[in-house]
Amino acid sequence: MSFFLSSTIDQAYHQLAQIEAELKAAMAGSKKIITREEWEKKLNDVKIKKEDMNKLVMNFLVTEGYVDAAEKFRKESGTEPDIDLATITDRMAVKKAVQCGNVEDAIEKVNDLNPEILDTNPQLFFHLQQQRLIELIRNGKVEEALEFAQEELAPRGEENQSFLEELERTVALLAFEDVSNCPVGELLDISQRLKTASEVNAAILTSQSHEKDPKLPSLLKMLIWAQNQLDEKAHYPRINDLSTARLEDPNV
């Protein structure tokens, strides 16, 4: 009797386990389930060369303009930068000049670097001139600002409708005594300087046949994308927080 009972209990357990497995599979749809152990094996099988990671880091330092760090990194890791480090200093000087509002100085520096950059990039040149106008207005030099707008910017606006609109928007700053409350007040914001600075930075990099953005952020985006893509086909351990790179168990 007792033997019979225990075997039915065993059977019941067995059935329960089966139902549970089926339920899990149904909940998971037809997706493949990859356990942490299996996934870690796959991660370990990936072959990544240290020197390639070093190149990636060097590319970040160089593109973002960390010239001293790039120089040190070359010494410490033996990684060759993919651009002449001296050109970073010049590029950063231009960027900084715009960030600090010294637009005239920036334009001169860009032209020293390579006059073709502004010649072949009318939009960039317009944005720099616009920034110059913004700085004149910021400093309360109304007369100078008006003269500059009429002589330098208006002729360019005639060539291009969007330039004209930008010019009008900028000149509108003069109409308000209290710019902090005016609808175009954002032009006076620090973010406008940063925008112009990064535009000129990108143009210089392009002129040096270097990509204007570092590769690392693209790869991080690619990781998010690749995980989303794989989500459609499988349950597997994900990295949800890039800053901890912690592998999290699949919730199946």
Binding site: V46, G78, Q99
Partner: protein, 466 residues
């Protein structure tokens, strides 16, 4: 005897010597492009003369052109021929081209893709599981007798191409270098590039890539990658996350001088970058012994292995206690390599006998120790097959091993495996594994992510542009 001790150290993963992991890194150095495995896939090179519709067409001796020699009478005497291999799948795009040498009496030429069991007397596209772009009407046939208007007709002297875009899962066809159209690829299994001729004197030459294509395939691939990139660029990232990952990389590997310059510069940028715990970065594990790790890295990188060993014995005797550990092995190898580098061959032989001989019968070390000793055989070892050992990257591997072993001695280590891989490396491994897994769940089709390739593609593209 010694091999049995070795089995216990490698098979018991709980007590596995973490330094062994770096032996793999060292081996990676010996392979020029360890991640370019995809290119090993076989591609079509010529026409398959065994499985062609014999009797209706004649394939030239070089197996790269076909001519219809009969007079066609009905729909079942098509001269059709497949490539000798199916189109490779582990890539972004496969593509081949034909040149119509002679459109014959009716110009009933077609180009397309068919499967293994295709009826070799029919035009590609007429049967299920096949598709073809036909010259006489410019129609696309896709598994039915009736075609659909698709592109222009083509005839003598035209160059026509057929391709598979694995990213968009489409077939595409070109005429004289321009894409004429695309059609969804709903066929499974190996697909063979296929051509057919069906009227007297029609003659077609095939180009499987041996000759330059009329179509700019590289540009097409670049455009495809760009499309994907544009989609990916829309994803937003937490502020300064790249900055934080770079910083943790510098910390992890003990690039202390770089780190200091990086931090200095970060403070003075507009706006300044603050990376701290608030962003979720946990740097406690990798702050450990930064200065000592940096000192040892410099010593190894300068080839001063004796000094490195002295420092290690003083600061971290537990790391160099076991003289048969992977760390000691790599350090001894490096010392040997440094002696070879400066031409002190006699001393190298002496050192090898004392310190390397004992690794010869240990399977995990055998191949590397043999490579090291092989350096002695060459007058110019740099140019030999074991020359990789003399490269900077080998010093870096040894420096990384020592660095990781020191990190592992941290008594407050939170992540027990964290000392092996930097955050950046973990993210890149995850990215690669996801991409490979997705491809394997998609019938092995498409291009997988490889860091090495991403770094090099851009370089090539840039060179091409300038």
């Amino acid at each position: 005897m010694s091999s049995s001790t070795n089995i216990t150290t490698t098979d018991n993963s709980n007590h596995r010597d973490p330094g062994l992991w770096f032996l793999e890194q060292s081996r990676l150095g010996s392979v020029p492009g360890p991640t370019d495995m995809d290119e090993d896939e076989e591609s079509p090179t010529e026409l398959n003369t065994i499985n062609s519709s014999g009797g209706f067409l004649v394939v030239s001796p070089d197996k790269l052109s076909a001519r219809y020699t009969n007079v066609n009478l009905h729909g079942h005497d098509v001269g059709v021929v497949q490539a000798n291999k199916s189109a490779p799948v582990k890539r972004l795009v496969y593509y081949f081209e034909i040149y119509v040498k002679d459109a014959g009496t009716k110009g009933q030429i077609s180009i397309g893709f068919t499967t293994d069991n295709f009826k070799m007397r029919r035009q590609p596209g007429w049967e299920v599981n096949s598709c073809g772009y036909h010259g006489d009407d410019g129609f696309l046939y896709h598994g039915q007798g009736k075609g659909e208007p698709f592109g222009p007709t083509y005839t003598s002297d035209d160059r026509v191409g057929g391709g598979i875009n694995y990213a968009s899962r489409e077939f595409f066809f070109t005429k004289n270098g321009t894409v004429v159209g695309t059609v969804p690829k709903d066929m499974k299994g190996p697909l063979y590039p296929t051509i057919a001729v069906h009227s007297q004197n029609e003659e077609v030459q095939v180009n499987f890539g041996q000759q330059p294509f009329a179509f700019d395939l590289k540009e097409f691939e670049a455009q495809e990658r760009m499309k994907q990139q544009m989609m990916i660029e829309k994803i937003s990232l937490p502020t300064n996350v790249s900055h934080g990952i770079v910083r943790s990389y510098l910390l992890h590997y003990g690039y202390e001088d770089t780190l200091n310059s990086f931090d200095m510069a970060s403070k003075s940028t507009v706006p300044p970058v603050y990376i701290a715990q608030e962003n979720g970065f946990d740097e406690q594990d990798i702050m450990y012994a930064l200065n000592q790790r940096n000192t040892l890295r410099q010593l190894v990188r300068n080839g001063e292995i004796d000094s490195a060993l002295v420092k290690l014995r003083e600061w971290y005797p537990q790391i160099v206690q076991d003289d048969k550990s992977a760390t000691c092995f790599l350090l001894h190898c490096q010392k040997f390599i440094e002696l070879v580098r400066v031409g002190a061959l006699e001393e190298a032989v002496k050192y090898g006998r004392i310190e390397l001989a004992k690794f010869f019968d240990l399977p995990v070390f055998e191949d590397i120790v043999q490579d090291c000793v092989a350096l002695l055989a060459y007058e110019r070892p740099q140019e030999s097959s074991v020359g990789y050992l003399l490269e900077e990257s080998q010093r870096e591997v040894v420096a990384d091993t020592v660095n990781a072993m020191i990190l592992s001695t941290n008594p407050n280590l939170k992540d027990s495996n964290g000392f092996l891989h930097s955050y950046l490396e973990r993210l890149l491994r995850q990215l690669t594994a996801c991409s490979l897994e997705r491809r394997s769940l998609s019938g092995d089709q498409g291009e997988a992510f490889h860091l090495h390739r991403v770094l090099n593609i851009c370089k090539k593209a840039r060179l091409g542009a300038s």
